[in-house]
Amino acid sequence: MTVGNRNIPISSNMQRRDLLKFMGAGAAAITVGGLPRVAFAQDKTVAFWATATLDIGEKWQEFASQAGVTPEFTDNGNDVGPVVARLAAGNANDLFDVGGLQGGAEKELARQGLIIPWDIAKIPNYEGVWQWAKDIPYLKHEGKQFGIPTVVNADSIIYRPDKLGKVDSYGVIFDPKLKGRVAMEDAWINSAVFAAMYLKESENQPIKEPGNLSESELGLVMEFLIKHKKDGQFRTFWNGWEQGVQLVANEEVDAMTGWEPIVYEGRKRGLQVEYAAPVEGYEGWGNNTVLLKGAGDRGTADAAHEFVNGLLAGFYGCELGKARGYLVPTDSNVAYAQAHPSEYAPEEVQKLGDHVKAKFGGKVYWQNCRPDNFQLYEEWWQKLRNA
């Protein structure tokens, strides 16, 4: 078959994929009132389906010229449940080559054959990834590399030192003296981990892995949260960036578990806000890239490897750090900034890297978007809501 008058042969597989993409574009236009990104003029393209925060917008063009492969970015909505379902029972594997997901779902996806392992030999820049990022527990399944750590950070407590002095424990969140003056995030994926870390480290409760609680451990953690909720401990459970910022900025709470950028925003608004380094450790999180089975079927796996190699080459890390304060865990970022000081300040890039590295120098428990008992987590979260 040929396309237009250019006489370019395309395979039947490509026809199907393009048709599906076209249909997907129509659906996207209907549901969100927008159109997906149009590919830049490059021979090799990779359909990258990831969390919106991994998108670098028009900078993909420069990325493409450096990496030699053009990403077509599509927001996956970030919620892992619908993403997994679309991979398992929908058409995601027909449309996309590479996925970008919150860490934890790799094992499940690999077990179902929805993602295929990376060949690290084809990703030379993987060598430069920091060892602790390579050691993230969800990246491998049965000895094979299914996830590449693309963005990492670690979360703890945002607090007001003018009200509380120095805070160095999650105990502040559960301190009855602060009844109604604290908050947690409205998501078990984070709040259950924070509570489990506190119970394990400071209350010596029998919890093995806060990111993957057994049935009895989960019961223990959630009963603890339910008790505190019933006692009126929490002012609210917050949702989303703006709500988090507002809680701090308008002095609704004195301490809450949350994301570090909220601290920076609070300071910008003239507040004295600090980010705690808790004795119980940080909650680490990673957004990992996975190779979708469809890429293997269509023969685009090599291009996908080149794309991921590009993500770790430095430019992407510098851009993501500058735009969002996110960290790609590799020294390539600093090297790139040093080679292009007019585009990215090397000292800023270094500072961001050192800051995140320091967090991971101590105790870290990893966030897990798909713990073994994930449906039980939801059930307990409903109980907490209704308590």
């Binding site: 619908p82 409205d186 609704e252 939801e378 979260w381």
Partner: protein, 287 residues
């Protein structure tokens, strides 16, 4: 003017198809899928009869969320009617034409902003350092911020009423426009006072508008989540928040079962309401 049947069928076919394709078909799918089983190997559903979704509603207190959602929707709709009825009366009977336009615009303008912004603004009004607490403390009426103004059921109802009030007011204005002014004048000439006219004439003749307003607000509240998440207390829930939670763990039969229960109640309400209050009268030709 009577149209030939073929012309009528031609004109109606496109909207009828649109309603079936975009309205009824997805709802039918939701109802059917609510009886299918979840398949852990595919994270999707499989066509095997299962009541697991409905059984799940009885677990983890989910049924209490459904009940409290209906209670919130009922309360919001009732408050909207209490405020909307006199508002509609003022717009239609008391205000000059120009003032009526201004009042309608004032009701509509907030809807040009996003519902997220509207809810968010209530946090700035009701919060510890918000407008109301500041005023109360400045006036010496309170010595410390009142906490329950925000992150409470009170705040949720305030947010919901503010969001959906126009949906109660506009059907009432529409219903009042259908009233015959001669009948009202006649009642007054015969000695009926203000409240008697309201009770025996205006309310009975606008009851279809009252029910339409109630229904609009009730249904929209059932589908809302932002107000609850932004203004409610720790972990506050409503049906749409609960469905989101369930979808996150890919428990589709449960999500569909919750939706089906809500749909059944709403359809039942529409049918009962139409029978009791003559909703369709609102769309009848006045001539």
């Amino acid at each position: 003017m009577k149209l030939p049947l073929s012309t009528l069928a031609g004109l109606m076919s496109a909207p009828a198809l649109a309603i079936i394709a975009m309205g009824l078909a997805p709802l039918a799918v939701v109802v059917v899928w609510s009886f299918w089983a979840w398949d852990p190997s595919t994270y999707w559903i499989k066509p095997e009869l299962s009541f697991a979704g409905y059984a799940g509603i009885l677990e983890a207190g989910r049924w209490t969320v459904i009940l409290s959602t209906f209670a919130k929707a009922f309360l919001t709709a009732a408050i909207c009617l209490l405020i909307g009825f006199p508002t509609a009366y003022a717009v239609h009977f008391l205000a000059s034409r120009r003032l009526a336009v201004v009042l309608l615009a004032l009701m509509t303008i907030p809807f040009l902003t996003s519902y997220l912004i509207r809810s968010f603004s209530w946090r700035l009004v009701l919060g510890r350092t918000g407008v109301i607490n500041t005023l109360l403390q400045d006036a010496g009426l309170t010595s410390a911020p009142i906490d329950w103004l925000l992150f409470s059921d009170f705040a949720v109802i305030v947010g919901l009423v503010a969001s959906y009030l126009p949906f109660a007011t506009f059907p009432l204005i529409l219903a009042m426009q259908r009233l015959d002014p001669v009948a009202i004048a006649a009642a007054r000439d015969l000695g009926a006072g203000f409240w008697t006219v309201q009770r025996t004439l205006i309310l009975p003749l606008t009851i279809s508008g009252v029910f339409a307003g109630f229904l609009f607000v009730f249904v929209m509240t059932l589908g809302s989540s932002t107000e609850v998440q932004m203004l409610g207390g720790a972990g506050a829930s409503i049906v749409s928040v609960m469905i989101n939670d369930v979808m996150r763990v890919a428990n589709y039969p449960l999500a569909f079962a919750i939706s089906t229960v809500v749909l059944a109640v709403v359809f039942g309400l529409v049918l009962l309401g139409n029978r009791a209050f003559g909703l369709s009268r609102l769309f009848e030709d006045r001539s």
